[in-house]
Subunit: 390 residues, 2 copies
């Protein structure tokens, strides 16, 4: 196990109706003037936004609003948010929504107290300071409610970059599973896939002797396999929603990723799919992960046998290749059963795009022609992985 | 799943040699004058205390010292620590040792900033404020390095009480598995048992639909079953020590105990054993837990079948009673294999003490004649459980 530090100081408030405590929580953590940040649509229609604002008012907290966050949140709105926070003397940023809204709020919170251009953080500058951030989560997926990460798309070129730092770990996060019951099955399944991918990116490691975190990841994957189909069958299943929501946070606050190298090749490969085809990130991951595993498993067959046996209940027949193949087959079958695509053609992917996709994955974002995760992948390797997604 | 809040703001620094960063960490979290609190013996002999003091001096941090913490830490030393902190203007309390030292440090940190008698906290007053606390952990067992709990023995009557509150969650905790390699096998095994007991106390729940936390607990138990025997066979096995140390923290910071009722009957039953026979807490738990399970399993056979199958690899034969019995047998066998006692007679327990033990368990600490955990236990029930430990 490698040396590490782990810091997850967020105050998590979980359960039915807890969003009505928003005002009280902002007050507890010292906020007096809040930016309420959100997308639009369902947060407004469902009445959630009104309940949150009422809670702030009841606690005597002033606020200003900034809606309009889009999936793959944009830099333009971040600049707008920073200007607004400075002009209005905002001292607390509240995100009401999913991963995109939270990531946008994190960028605004960091940018407001920074003298330079907030984009510096998305070019590698560590974020150690930001306005305190609160989140009210409406989809179990990205794990941004408990992480120190944020991804923003720069509108000047439309490219995505990530930033990181303890400064943007949320001060509090409210997780009410009821708020996720109105999500359509497809979006729910995308969230489930994203959570499982966050676990798999940590599972695929080159660090030896990581028994404790291996077992935690396997446990969380098993929980997703048990609970995922329940919410697809019955979107109103509160208990399954609750189990998925807590697993989604645990999958990405890094409790089970500490002290080990992590992969993230699949995320890099997927980002090209959602950029080109505008598919949902989770749907892209559903296609990417099995294809990637079928290519990369040879790098550490024993680890993948362990995964097939413990997570997918495969028999350890002694024929490692066959065991891994069966594990991947069951993974694909699971993703299909919850409604995820099995091929990029299902969201418009074409064989003739593969050269572009692979080149962009390997040379975009200033990369050196390779992806350096669990396995080092060349451009040709990445092409082969994309071909397996057809 | 029940509503809950979860808050574990401790900054964990994990790995080889990390205690040399103590001064830097105290500074990072605003300390300028430290109380260095410890027991004695090995912390001094091993040179750890000197390394820690050197690290403080190198960072320009002043300190005063208070040693002498005993297992089952006493109120007298806490009062002494509070007086010392006030007289010297201490603004940071640093515990160097195991659970007893950390619990004592927590009491001092809370008492120093409190106008009344610190014992109020151990009579039920919630601790929301204390001096910041740092810990340098030397044994994987109690989980106090990541918890908001502390247990102190009042010398005026020699009774134990617990206090709790977010105010005493450590600000930082340094976990270096190397520091645990000099522990004798017996103490190591007691620690392993304590960690498994912390997991089991959470596993035994009356809350339905807790799949995610069930799976996490099972994963952590499996890690202990895999790694425990390795450190008993080879105390210098760093990797196994590391896995156990992180599992010990995760077992008790409540990540996997949220949203569910918990048990703690076994801890209450054990406390009488360590009080009367002065046995190690872990050794008492090793005898208590299997006896308790053999009595209590009927309350929710299906849950115990799940445990036997998933944790101990028992076959689910359909004969639930037999499956649970086999799980308990494997649990006993595991504890015996790591060197734990299988009967209270091994540390001086006698049949004629049982009436006293059961009465004290059920009526001590202001109790109402029953223990109210997973199963409600009467005095007669508790007698029967003690009889099964002979």
């Amino acid at each position: 196990m490698d040396n590490f530090y782990f810091y997850s100081p967020t105050y998590f408030v979980f359960g039915k109706d807890e969003e009505n405590r928003t005002g009280e929580l902002v007050k507890k953590f010292g906020g007096s003037k809040v930016l309420v940040h959100y997308g639009g649509g369902s947060v407004v229609r469902s009445g959630l936004l009104d309940r949150v604002k009422k809670s702030l008012t009841n606690a005597g907290i002033e606020y200003v609003e900034l809606g309009g966050v889009k999936p793959n949140p944009r830099s333009g709105l971040v600049y707008e948010g920073i200007d607004l926070c400075r002009a209005e003397g905002v001292d607390f940023v509240l995100a009401v929504g999913g991963g995109s809204t939270i990531d946008s709020a994190k960028a605004i919170a960091a940018g407001t107290v920074y003298d330079g251009d907030f984009w510096d953080f998305y070019c590698g500058k560590y974020i150690d300071k930001a306005l305190p951030i609160g989140t009210i989560l409406t989809i179990a997926a990205a794990g941004s409610e408990g992480s120190g990460d944020s991804v923003i798309t720069n509108e000047n070129g439309m490219f995505k970059r990530g930033a990181t730092g303890d400064g943007i770990r949320p001060t509090f996060s409210i997780l009410n599973p009821q708020l996720t019951t109105t999500l359509p099955p497809y979006q729910t399944a995308c969230g489930i896939t994203d959570i499982m991918a966050h676990l798999m990116e940590r599972y695929l490691t080159n660090t030896d002797d990581v028994v404790t975190t291996d077992r935690m990841i396997e446990g969380l994957l098993l929980a997703m396999i048990e609970e995922g189909p329940k919410v697809i069958a019955d979107p109103l299943d509160y208990e399954a929603r609750a189990n998925i929501m807590w697993a989604g946070m645990m999958a990405h606050n890094n409790s089970c990723g500490v002290g080990r190298s992590q992969d993230w090749n699949s995320h890099d490969i997927e980002h090209e799919l959602s950029a080109l085809y505008d598919c949902a990130h989770g749907a892209g991951l559903a296609v990417t992960f099995p294809a990637y595993l079928s290519f990369a498993y040879k790098h550490d067959v024993k680890r993948l046998v362990q995964w097939a046996v413990r997570v997918w209940g495969c028999e350890d027949s002694g024929d490692d290749e066959a065991t891994v193949a069966e594990g991947i087959r069951r993974f694909r079958e699971f993703l299909k059963a919850i409604g995820m695509p099995g091929s990029i053609t299902e969201f418009g992917g074409k064989a003739e795009d593969i050269d572009h996709l692979a080149h962009s994955a390997c040379f975009g974002n200033g990369r050196d022609g390779y992806l350096h995760g669990f396995v080092k992948l060349s451009e040709d390797d990445v092409k082969e992985i994309y071909r397996r997604m057809l």
